[in-house]
Symmetry: C2
Subunit: 713 residues, 2 copies
Amino acid sequence: MAGRGFMQWAANCRTVRLDVGLATSEIIVLGQTLCTDLSSFSPTEAEAFYIVVGDSGRELTLDLTKTAPVSLESITPEGTVTFHTVVGHEGDITVSAKNESPEGMGSNGGVTKMVAYISVATPSSKIDDKEVNFLFVDKSGDTIGVATLRMTAFYVSLDVDCDRDGVVEKNNPNKASWKWGPDGHGAILLVNNDCDDYLLEMDPEHKNSKIDGPFDLEDMSRMSVRVRGPDTLPEDCKLRMWVRPDDKERLGIFNLSDIQMLDELGNRHIIGPKAGHLAQISYDLMMAGGTGEGETLFAVEGLKYPDRDFNGTLRIHLSLLKNAAVPVFEDTVMFRLAPWIMTPNTLEPVEAFTCQMKKKENIDFVNDFTKVVEAAGIKLNIVLPYENRGDRWMQDEIELGYSELPGKKPMPVVLDSPRDRGLQKFPKGKLLGPDFGYVTRYDQNEYVNSLDSFGNLEVSPPVKVDGRTYPMGRILLGSAFPTTKYGRRMMRVVRDFLYAQQVQPPVELFSDWLAVGHIDEFMSFVPAAGGKGFRLLLASPAACYNLLRKLKDQGHGDVLCFEGRTRHGESAEKSISDLLDDADLKAESMQCQNDIDWNRDVMKRELGLDEGDIIDLPQLFQLEEGSGAGAYFPDMVNMIVLGKHLGIPKPFGPMIDGECAIETNVRSLLEPLGLTCNFVNDWDSYHLLMGEVHCGSNTRRKPFDFKWWNMSF
Amino acid sequence: MAGRGFMQWAANCRTVRLDVGLATSEIIVLGQTLCTDLSSFSPTEAEAFYIVVGDSGRELTLDLTKTAPVSLESITPEGTVTFHTVVGHEGDITVSAKNESPEGMGSNGGVTKMVAYISVATPSSKIDDKEVNFLFVDKSGDTIGVATLRMTAFYVSLDVDCDRDGVVEKNNPNKASWKWGPDGHGAILLVNNDCDDYLLEMDPEHKNSKIDGPFDLEDMSRMSVRVRGPDTLPEDCKLRMWVRPDDKERLGIFNLSDIQMLDELGNRHIIGPKAGHLAQISYDLMMAGGTGEGETLFAVEGLKYPDRDFNGTLRIHLSLLKNAAVPVFEDTVMFRLAPWIMTPNTLEPVEAFTCQMKKKENIDFVNDFTKVVEAAGIKLNIVLPYENRGDRWMQDEIELGYSELPGKKPMPVVLDSPRDRGLQKFPKGKLLGPDFGYVTRYDQNEYVNSLDSFGNLEVSPPVKVDGRTYPMGRILLGSAFPTTKYGRRMMRVVRDFLYAQQVQPPVELFSDWLAVGHIDEFMSFVPAAGGKGFRLLLASPAACYNLLRKLKDQGHGDVLCFEGRTRHGESAEKSISDLLDDADLKAESMQCQNDIDWNRDVMKRELGLDEGDIIDLPQLFQLEEGSGAGAYFPDMVNMIVLGKHLGIPKPFGPMIDGECAIETNVRSLLEPLGLTCNFVNDWDSYHLLMGEVHCGSNTRRKPFDFKWWNMSF
């Protein structure tokens, strides 16, 4: 749909009405033109007119000789004055007059119009100090009428930091537009969804319309209103800042020149949401003009990310109103909301998260996991039972991303899944805080399903596809096929949110074939030497059967897999030959291979990958009763990636020459890429519950060096 | 917001899994490529492979000598086969193989991949009749394994009339996209909102999912599925037509090859809304293949105009599914919904409408109006009291526009206002019918206000503005200023609808200053000789005072205006001098002049007009108690325009030399433009009720010669 065009609610050329014998007062803004149809009020006998410009109050008759020459050409039969263009100029007032009869009409009985245009170059020092007089003369040259226009001139400009250097420019010509790319421009707002005030309740729904101290101000962008002219506006004029009603919940504006003004609820938003009030859409400015450089400073905070019905740009308008209501001048600035950005596995980790369950139930896992995190040299956050409330799926509740303003430190922002199990309160309760933002999307009209978990939400490393670059990669999420009527999908409001961020255009994969239905069950990205700097790892039944067959060919058919492991109270042990001979398992696994291959093909196309960018890790799948597929043994692609250190679910494969043959195979595939394989025992504590290492952990990573506003579309 | 990109749900290059000792069956569509990673299943001792292609079933050993040459280059230390690209080609099967190790990895321990690509040039005549064999040989050249791929090949194409010549092309390369302009392309759908079956209840809500006979079919566009190949698809494959759930209420598809299949409710939509059912989003095709040209013909009807959440384009997909669910091929066509188009006063009238009230209350008006319509030589429709139910405001209930398909007669379509007073049932009850469509927009969450009436909705003639052309003009509608908190506006769903049509981008004017609040109270367009071919007429208090003053100057100060007229039971008569001396009336009128001038300035800018395109008609306004302004005497711009014949509210101005001086003035302004002024007495029957001739009438006009799809953006 063609976006609703930008309607400027005041024309730059404004009609004014004069009359003979009258002095009319008008406000004018520098850069504007006033126009008046002289023929509409010229006396019947008028044959010519003089234009006399200058300061108001002097005797006109005395100055007539000093006026600019007046050209007069013809008089129509009806006595209407018609001229060629005449221009009078004195001091900073410019007047021109133009015959604006329609083409081909001349004076043949149609409308003949003599229109004068008036503009002013410098602001007034007092009300009505600029004057233009139109003196009409008759045939004999006698003055038969004078119409006077008195003007009060202001310089008015609404300004933002359009070139992103931290300084609010003066009337930047680009201030009302926004352009992507390295040669782009446009002011930027952060969604100020962190909480800089520990004394207040956490406020991720952005109903806080206060400034929570200097750190809160740091998250806001600056905007200025600059006015030069008399100290006060002419009577019945107003200077009003306003936004469209659609935008009133998307931003909040504070007047920094007047931040002491709180209402009884402590609100300070002059425009935007106000606790206990309707959101404000307009604000009348107290004039701070004067002949010097009057400037009023504002802080603007973003409150909503781009979304389905919001393209991410906001306009703020400043209008000069006449007769208390009629906009006669308008200035506009544009902001774009900084998007929420995801971080792929190829970015350096900063800190890792996992849950410790009650009664040390998953202590083996936590111990193994801790070693990987220590090897990676980053901070480990262990979420204790009272915080995780029995929910170990740290990957599924949150996705850790960030938002970034030019010249500022990027702000980590957690996206909270609508999933909401035991960890539901963790992101808001523990992550949200100073310089750590929070956002969620939830639709009470939809049921939450397993595909809403963020194990089903990943992002690729930067890629190039058919000449188009995705410098921050592409978001990947699992869905059902659109050809399928009853499939599961991620909640629409979440998908809409992800698409709307624009900078990491999502690719929808097919994950509904899995019982749990998360894309991390069949794929992962790892940083890697050579090639594109990363590899896509895919779970592969074909590779697994290949490996097992080769092991059998080498005479290891009787070696037990999953030695000592149990499943549903029974031994999970099976020999290589038994695995190979299990026709049901093979059929189920190879059906899953088909589904994975479908995703492989889509990723090859949508991420511009070829086979050399993909590594198949041996894996078997089985169909869970009536609900889809699940990993038959610990699902190795479901790993945590911390730089070069991988925390891989320990497969418990056949021990050959004292080593697990599956681990050996995986090492042979990954270690040449410069990666370290750490195998983490998650069999009892995660695998049997249909999850793995990745599901049970989360990672905050460094932001991209690439700045999102430099992206080209 | 970056539109959610088009996700093709099947890759054109598809991964297949083969194995030694196995024959694998696959379906393939012409134009597709199958790819298989040979290294993933080659025997450990393999050092090279042969590719043997051809019809299935022959003895491989016999044909070995006939195979394409096989190039073999190096063997890695691990024994993996690595080749440069080799190509085998026989008959219509093409096979190539390529080393796809990642750049810089070579055989240094990373993954080395030999990938084969297979495509087919002609459709199969029976299942599995195309065959490719990969023969692996060891060092000594002995065959140590064969993997066989058997393919069934189909030609499949979903086709539309992309070049708009009335014929569905075969696989037009542009069929999945849409381009505006004279060099554009793309199929078009009409919103089929007329009612071609008088036996059924009128069905403007589009719940009718039947074909109402041949005239209904005429309003639909054609779409074909063309298939060549075996008579049936391989087992477990399906050919499914589908649309996104968002689009399911926006279109209806009929299978013309199978239109006898009705369900118990008589539904025939195979995709789209179905009475008594969920709307259908997919449809599995019965195969009509065969070696000949199998073709299944569909008729597609549009059901919704472009709107806020709908950019007007629809995609229909055809997917080939494997394993009953997995899309392995996809074809897509795009349609754009023909927009609803308004007709400006400069287009020739076809028929006029007005209401006759009970007890012949407005008989004088109807008589005068009839004369104007007769002079214009068009049909007059008089809506009788039982139909108008006491509502005389024919302009306000409906707007008459049209929609157009290439090569078809444009279809008139009435837009029904949410206003809904006495005339509420008229558009659906009397206008909707064969080849006369109906559309409405209403939001039960909003209150209807006077600005929702379509006297507040007009369209300009074609204009050019700063190099941009609007070949069908721009829609004009009245609003409150966005700077005003409590102003009236047209209902959002109606405004959204108007903006979404795209081809006549709206301009919002300021009409909230008027008590009734309709733009037709201060403006009208007339066709005119010279200039741009039209003039904008504006109501003008300034022009009126000018005229009255001149009349007084000429000695007519004592002449009565509004002679014999009454207002609220009292005489309305007033002399010219009394009018001029009425300071309140002047102040109120000149305030209205200011508001009209604001609109003048916005139209000059948004429609690219200059003063010569504008004619000021004398008019006075007064403030109605507490509610805004209204015309003080019959509001002449509120006229009906029927070609050169204008039906102008009779002003009852001062009679001078036996003629109304106001009429004389208006004639002097308009008649030189080639227009005929017919003054219609609406004083008692409309003017005193705050409306005029335009409010009490409506006009259906000829469509533009210009075709909307030729518009450039």
